[in-house]
Every structure is written in structure tokens, then in C-alpha cells.
Subunit: 191 residues, 3 copies
């Protein structure tokens, strides 16, 4: 009986250790070069789900402009929202709060690009689709982020149409790739 209690105690402690390892690992897994290659697998089933659930939103891993820089996250709506609802894949990006927000300049004003990648066969020139924008300092979306307030961010309700997405090799093996890039050249490099 005592033996069992002791074992139980060790198991509970291990559960906490595993939890801590996961948190540290997730932080380490963040891309830190202002680039995100977002691989969306099982696209057909996600698209079907998106048609059924109005608010169905896919969220990318968080990525950062540098080790201690801005943190960002992308959202995709396979069946579209706003002006793209039912016809387009919509895509948005927002800043999320990080460890060093007090050292960063706000609002976030650096250019961002979204690229839908064409998984072209060997020998064929891939035909990627790219959209860029530069956040305006007056936009609410890119102010110093708060942990409590959720914003959709800025983006493209009509990024690419469902019809267009079926052309080329944008979807291959039921998988789609979206590349997101932040132009970090004007970010103050003190941190």
C-alpha cells in the first residue's frame, strides 16, 4: 500500500516534468527568422468541415521575426469568411504577445507577404501566388498585443478562389503549403 502511494507520487511528479518539457520544447520550436512555411495536411476534410462550421478557423504555429522579436500567427478559413465566404480561401495574420514585448517598438509596421506554393513536378517552373502588404501605423490590428483580446488580424478574405486552388499543384497529396514572410530589414536590432 505504501509502495503504491510512493509510486503514485513519483508518477504525479513526472506528469509535471513532462508538462514543463513540452512548454519549453514548444517555445524552442518557434521559427525565429521571420519566415513561416505552413503545411496544411488533410485539406479535403478540413475544407468539408469549414463548409459545415461557420467559424472554423485553422491557426498556424506562432513564429517570430528573431529570437527575441515580434511574434505572429496566421489564420486560414478554407471556406472563406467576409467577402470570400463560400468562394475563397481567406487568410489573416496578427501579432501575438511574447516575452519581450516591452523592448519592442509598437505598432508593428513591417511588410508581410503571403505566398501560396505550387508543388510543381520536377522540370516544370512552379507558379506561386504572392500577396504583400505593409501595416499602417493607424491600424488597430498591429498595436502592442494583449494576452486577453483576440483580433483576427489583417489579411485577404479573397486570397485565392476555390476554383483556382484546384489548378496546378497547389494541392498535392491532399496537402497545401503557405509561405509567410516578414521583411525584417527595418527592425531595430538592439534585441
Amino acid at each position: 500500500k505504501e509502495h503504491l502511494n510512493l509510486t503514485c507520487h513519483v508518477v504525479r511528479r513526472q506528469q509535471k516534468q513532462i508538462h514543463d518539457l513540452r512548454a519549453q520544447l514548444d517555445t524552442l520550436s518557434i521559427n525565429m527568422d521571420g519566415k513561416l512555411l505552413w503545411k496544411i495536411t488533410d485539406y479535403a476534410s478540413r475544407f468539408a468541415k469549414s463548409k459545415l462550421e461557420d467559424e472554423y478557423e485553422l491557426r498556424s504555429p506562432v513564429f517570430a521575426t528573431s529570437r527575441n522579436g515580434y511574434r505572429l500567427q496566421v489564420s486560414a478559413f478554407p471556406n472563406g469568411n467576409g467577402s470570400g465566404e463560400g468562394t475563397h480561401l481567406s487568410i489573416y495574420i496578427r501579432t501575438v504577445s511574447g516575452e519581450n514585448d516591452s523592448l519592442l517598438r509598437w505598432p508593428f509596421i513591417h511588410p508581410i507577404s503571403f505566398t501560396l506554393l505550387d508543388q510543381a513536378e520536377d522540370g516544370l517552373k512552379p507558379s506561386h501566388v504572392k500577396e504583400c502588404f505593409t501595416p499602417d501605423p493607424t491600424w488597430k490590428n498591429f498595436q502592442r498585443p494583449s494576452r486577453d483580446v483576440y483580433t483576427l488580424g489583417y489579411g485577404y478574405p479573397t486570397f485565392v478562389s476555390h476554383v483556382f486552388l484546384k489548378t496546378k499543384n497547389y494541392i498535392k497529396d491532399d496537402t497545401l503549403f503557405i509561405k509567410v514572410e516578414v521583411d525584417c530589414s527595418k527592425i531595430n536590432n538592439i534585441i
Copy 2:
């Protein structure tokens, strides 16, 4: 009874696996670009502790000049030591032993800077405090490090005074940031 013994055995094995994961994760967490942003939280209580305990030393995470490069660690004494005792925050840096010391050139002779960061409000120009030095080849501190011998390293007993530290936003939300940078431009890049 047998069932319990078996479970016990699995739990012991898991403890070792968790320990190994932690070690690998800690190695991976090391900054490898010659830069360290050291965030010191709960500064008030650390400062109070430093006033009571003479030898109270804060140690930064180890960081490296490249993936396989030199490893360094910073120490801070909130209440000061040496000529700064009781009046200044003292700060030091030393080389620590790593996996590839046999491939590196010794002594370590590359310029190092310490910067106390000002967490200025949006719109205000931050007023950081920076000190630099280049290790002299004759110094004992930057010879090939040994695992057994502890050295304090080189640094500034009077880095910033306690009075000065209360100005601007050097401390904000009870948190202080110190940036450490190694000039890696002259490090032989064979490894």
C-alpha cells in the same frame, strides 16, 4: 504485487527518459549566435536577497558564439561586489567548457559588450547603457576552460549604480534586461 513491481519498473525507466530529454533540450536551448538577451525577473526580491547574502550571484543561461563555438556565461551581483559592493550592480563574463573545445583557438580574444536595456514607452527614444572590452591574450580568465576550476571572469564591478538603475525604464514590471554580444567577425569559421 507483481503488477505493482512492473509498474514501478516502468516508472523508474521513465524517470531516466525524462532526465535525458531535459539534458538534450537544455543543450538545444542555448543561443548560438554570440548574443544573449538576459531577462531578470523579480528584481526587487533578488536585490533584497543580494543585500543579505554576500556571495549571492545570478548566473545567465550559457550561450555560444556559433553552434559549435565558444560557450560563455554571465554573472550578476545585484548588490555589487569588489569596488561596487553596496552601491552598484556588478557584471562579469567567463568562458565555460563545451563539446568542441579541442577544435577552438585559445585564449578567447573576441570583443564583448554588455548593454543595459531601457524599456522605453512607445514613442520615446530608449537610452541604453553599453560597455565594451576586448580580452587581452595574457588574461587568465579566457584561457581554455576547465570543468573543475571556477573563475569569476572579467567584467565591471561598477557596471551601473543602484541610483542610476532606478531612472528611466531600466526596471519595468520588476524586470531588467541585459544584452550581451560577442563580436564573432574574427572567429575562424572552420567549425
Copy 3:
């Protein structure tokens, strides 16, 4: 009894969590700059084993040309194979399959170098040994890799002789270092 069953259940769940953490950590541990510093410890015993077992092969960690780039792995045969059998250390490299192979251009045609590092004493100029090659597009070795087919890759059956390896400080503390570098300058940077 019930208590034991519950504990057992938790332990089984933890085993899966530990396994997942290991997999994620291994992915994160991959070098992503087209460079590998391969440290081979316990060389004497590995060499002895290689003399006894014909197929004894050391495999390096997998490394990548960029976060989402090509993945490669090096093999070494301490007692040699092919034309180097019994007299040389043989070394080979091959592409291995990764997450983003459908976005990469194939075959792999980028220059690769192997360097045996001299762990020279302080003050002595190290005398490293370097071999380079550029894969030919017609070679089978560097086509799009498959998860099922194993290829030895391309390399040097007579990289360095056993006699030569005993000179200088190529082996020090029973440890040998091989540096592998891919020239990534011509790799399309869309991903």
C-alpha cells in the same frame, strides 16, 4: 486494486507523451544551415568493431540545408569498404526524405565538401584535410529520395588511410571530427 489500475493507465499515457517529446526534440536537433560537425567518440573501439564486422557503418545525425530544405546523412566505414577496404576510412553522403520534398527541386545538384579536422594544440596551425565534389544530375544517388529504398550515397572509399589518420591530431582523446558542408548559395530560397 483500482488505484493500481489507474496509476498504470497514467503511466502508459506518460510513455506515449515521452515518445512524442523525443520525436519532436529529434526534429528540432537537426542542423539547418547545410553544415554538420560530426564528432565520433570512442574511435578505437569502433575501428576494432569495423575490422570484425564487414558491414559496420556509422551514420551521422541527419542535417538540412535550411529549415525546410534538403535533408542529408553521412556514413563512415572506419575499416573502409570498396577500394578502401582494410586500408582507409571510407565516407559517403546521401539525401534522405523530409517533410517538404514536394517543394524541392530534384535531383540534388549542390556542391558538398568533407573535411577531416586537425585538433591542433594551441599555437600550431591546424592541417585539415578537405575533399569536394558536385553531384552530377545523372547520378542515381541524388534523385528525390524514397522512404523505402536505401542508397549508400556518393563519397570517397579512400577518404584517408589508416596510417595517415594516426598523424597530427586527427584523433585526440579517442575522438575524431568530420565537418560536412553543402554550398547552399544556388538553392532556390522560396522555401
